[in-house]
């Protein structure tokens, strides 16, 4: 996914300030001519270690590779220059046949330590059809902290002019659609729970994380689950996550929320209890899963399909289809089954529902189970598409809130609509705002909508203030 690479690139750029080894990936386009220029197997020559040097000066080295083909091919003959902090050029070099450039800095290491240098790439010397990923990122600042060579690479992709803004938007919208489906499942659970109990559950993010972790536990078991010779460990993981999350939600309601309701604890107090629960669970998760980010190991992603100008991976298609199926089933159940109708009745007016013979506690119990199951499922799928850590759910909690409030708190269709607006908006907005600020855009939309339509898009026009 385009955004994923961009995110990784951002991480790498962020690390530059602190790390001595700053890696700058040149994702460029290799023309056939270049391929011909490197007749030997590209992988063998790619980023060959620069020749060792006897001088005790500090070198700035890097490797430029074209990642649009697999395996990546080196990008030769690109000019690189280095300026010192006052802007005077102090060195220049050209990438060789294996994509490597190696430029010595003048001066003894002891004299230049602590100085910063600007490494510039001459984008006009890049091969045809390749350009810097971010056209503004033509230079990188390097601060010398250690007496050792500094390694850099440059992020480059198709020239932006090559792809029309519409095509880019379409590609982003596909990524957004995947995220929207995940958001929709989490939001639906939150909205159902709010609708029936009035609880704004700040610990909903932890239900999402729970699903991701439950599947991770299956993933980490020794051996794998096979069905007819096919490795279906991840399928087993998803099913386990749904079952355990459902059970977790049911237990949470039985042991915590139902007693609180009976005790007559107010809604604001319950909300603060859920904040405590969120902090508690999040740290318990970190206790067992550690602070590191994880990926499912028994899950490999096949190459993406190209549909016109849009790339989509089979994984993304699978996530969309499966989520859509689940959402259709749940929404039909809410719309047509007895328990679904009872749920809507309780949402509407709990006292009236109870007096007309509906077992409100049972309905709430079911809603908690289903809501937690949906949240857990969205957690696994989120983990499969972009990795996860102990606070994956907490990080998207505000987006879930934004989706639910945007659609109208407590409204089923509102939660779905809000999720699609937020999910797609987040990705497509990166066309106009920096990727790091895409969450901000979604949250601003939330506040602006509330300004003009406090009950949300599909909420009932009752007094909310």
């Amino acid at each position: 996914m385009l955004t994923a690479t961009r995110r990784i690139t951002n991480l790498l750029l962020g690390a530059l300030g602190t790390a001595v080894l700053a890696t700058l990936v040149l994702v460029g386009a290799g023309s056939p001519a270049q391929a011909a220029a490197t007749p030997v197997s590209a992988t063998a020559q790619l980023c060959a270690k620069p020749p060792g040097h006897k001088d005790d000066t500090i070198h700035i080295q890097g490797c430029l590779k074209d990642q649009r083909v697999t395996p990546p091919k080196p990008v030769p003959d690109v000019k690189i220059t280095i300026d010192d902090s006052s802007g005077h050029p102090v060195g220049k070099g050209t990438s060789n046949a294996s994509g490597v450039f190696d430029i010595a800095l003048p001066g003894k290491p002891i004299d230049i330590l602590g100085h910063s240098y600007t490494v510039k790439i001459d984008s006009s010397t890049l091969p045809k059809h390749a350009a810097l990923r971010d056209p503004r990122q033509k230079s990188l600042k390097v601060l010398l902290r250690l007496d050792s060579d500094v390694f850099v690479t440059f992020p480059i992709a198709d020239a932006p002019t090559e792809e029309s803004q519409f095509a880019q938007g379409l590609q982003l919208a596909v990524g957004g659609l995947v995220f929207a489906f995940l958001l929709a499942m989490a939001s639906l659970g939150l909205s159902l729970i709010f609708g029936t109990t009035g609880l704004v559950n700040f610990a909903h993010g932890e239900l999402i994380t729970f699903g991701a972790l439950a599947a991770f536990a299956i993933d980490q078991l020794p051996g794998d689950v096979s069905l007819g010779g096919v490795n279906v460990t991840m399928v087993a993981g998803i099913i386990t996550a749904i079952v355990l999350s459902t059970l977790f939600g049911w237990l949470q309601d039985k042991l915590l929320w139902a007693p609180l309701r009976r005790k007559g604890v107010g809604l604001i107090a319950a909300m603060i209890v859920s904040i405590g629960l969120s902090i508690f669970l999040r740290n318990i998760y970190q206790y067992f899963a550690g602070a590191a980010s994880h990926n499912y190991t028994q899950w490999t992603s096949p190459a993406p399909w190209h549909l016109g100008s849009v790339d989509i991976t089979p994984k993304e298609v699978g996530v969309i289809l499966f989520s859509a199926l689940v959402l259709v089933i749940v929404c039909s159940a809410i719309q047509f089954t007895r328990i679904g109708k009872a749920t809507r009745a309780v949402s509407d007016n709990p006292a009236l529902a109870a007096s007309s013979g509906i077992n409100v506690d049972r309905v709430i119990s079911v809603v908690w189970s289903v809501g937690a199951g949906l949240a857990g499922l969205s957690g696994v799928l989120l983990g499969m598409t972009q990795g996860f850590d102990y606070q994956v759910g907490f990080k998207i909690l505000l987006l879930v809130f934004a989706a639910v409030v945007l659609g109208g708190l407590g409204s089923v269709w509102g939660a779905l609509l809000g999720s699609f607006v937020i999910g797609i908006f987040i990705e497509v907005s990166t066309l106009f705002v920096p990727a790091e600020l895409k969450f901000v855009g979604a949250l601003v939309v939330l506040i602006v909508v509330l300004l003009f339509r406090p009950q949300g898009l599909l909420g009932r026009a009752e007094r909310v203030g």
């Binding site: 107010g266 107090a269 902090i279 550690g290 809130f401 901000v440």
Partner: protein
């Protein structure tokens, strides 16, 4: 197990600069939540605006200390007004979501690479405490036997507790005035106050501004305490901790936030050092399969989360609060 160290470090933290910061933030929340009934979950956002503009005025724009303080307060008022217009008409739970969203908007924006040249990105701002450090009258470490502080830290906490005391006096005087009674009236029954011809919206706005200003002052102290202002100091958990501090001491009580902050940071540090000692050394008391040092550092937050739940369920009025006065419910 060295209980002496555990106790002295806990006391050091309970009286230290962090406790000052959270006492100030909780006083702000007390004005919002305790007295006016506004569920402001964006206190970290006010701290961010206060701390960042204070630090940036000095570090980025080279302006004098007092102008930086004024700027921090000024932009906080602006934020409160911007935030108040769309949100103060909303129900309590909506208000909570919107204010928490606003504080995250602020944190993401101030920490972004886009504004790197002004606010320093994720590394934040440094080198702004010069004027403050030069005014430090303490030249030697302050050693009170059990607890000891470096001169700079003591200067921060000394001034901090004075500001906290002034804040408490201000809140005390404000809340026993007719104005304060209107505030409490809004908390109890907004419509009743409205029927008396008071402009509830305007009063809520004043509450938000005053609560926000306390947050901004807390932001100044965060920046000064760490001599660095970065986004991690103003995450959503900061607001949650401040709420825990407030609820522990007792909302709608003048000294609630102060006592709450001292006890909160005493206990947090106590647990941290205790579990740290249990898992350190070549023969730790705690078996390593059960808990390692990384996990030990999480224990305080696990217990804190649990404590917040239990506190809210069994004693929502905190240590000093009055249950009758604090009707915590959605209105």
């Amino acid at each position: 197990m060295d209980w002496g160290t555990v106790f002295s470090q806990a006391l050091q933290s309970g009286l230290g600069p962090t406790a000052v910061v959270y006492a100030l933030a909780a006083i702000g929340l007390n004005v919002n939540f305790g007295y006016t009934g506004l569920l402001n979950f964006g206190e970290a956002g006010f701290m961010a605006i206060g701390g960042y503009f204070f630090a940036a005025f000095i570090a980025t724009w080279n302006l004098p200390f007092w102008l930086a303080i004024a700027a921090g307060l000024f932009f906080t008022v602006i934020l409160a007004l911007i935030l108040g217009v769309p949100t103060l008409r909303l129900r309590a739970d909506y208000l909570a979501i919107v204010t928490i969203a606003a504080s995250e908007i602020i944190r993401f924006t101030l920490g972004s690479v886009t504004l790197l040249k002004w606010f320093g990105g994720q590394d934040g701002l440094i080198h702004f405490e010069g004027a403050f450090a030069n005014a430090n009258p303490f030249h030697n470490s302050v050693d009170l036997g059990i607890v000891a502080w470096r001169p700079y830290d003591f200067w921060v906490l000394f001034l901090g507790w004075i500001v906290v005391a002034l804040g408490c006096i201000l809140v005390f005087l404000a809340m026993r005035s007719p104005w304060g009674r209107v505030m409490k009236g809004i908390r109890e029954d907004e419509d009743a106050v409205r029927s008396l011809g008071k402009n509830v919206y305007l009063y809520k706005m004043q509450s938000l501004v005053i609560g926000g200003l306390f947050g901004a002052v807390a932001g100044f102290f965060v920046a000064l305490q760490h001599t660095n202002m970065n986004p991690t100091w103003v995450a959503t958990d900061t607001t949650f901790f401040a709420y825990t501090v407030l609820l522990l001491g007792g909302a709608a009580r003048v000294l609630g936030p102060v006592v709450g902050s001292i006890i909160f940071w005493f206990l947090i540090q106590f647990l941290d050092v205790m579990f740290g000692q249990m898992t350190s050394g070549s023969h730790p008391i705690m078996p390593t399969w059960l808990m390692n040092t990384d996990q030990a550092s999480l224990m305080r937050l696990i217990i804190m989360g649990l404590a917040l739940m239990l506190l809210m369920i069994f004693r929502p009025q905190g240590i000093f609060g009055d249950r009758r006065e604090l009707a915590i419910d959605a209105r």
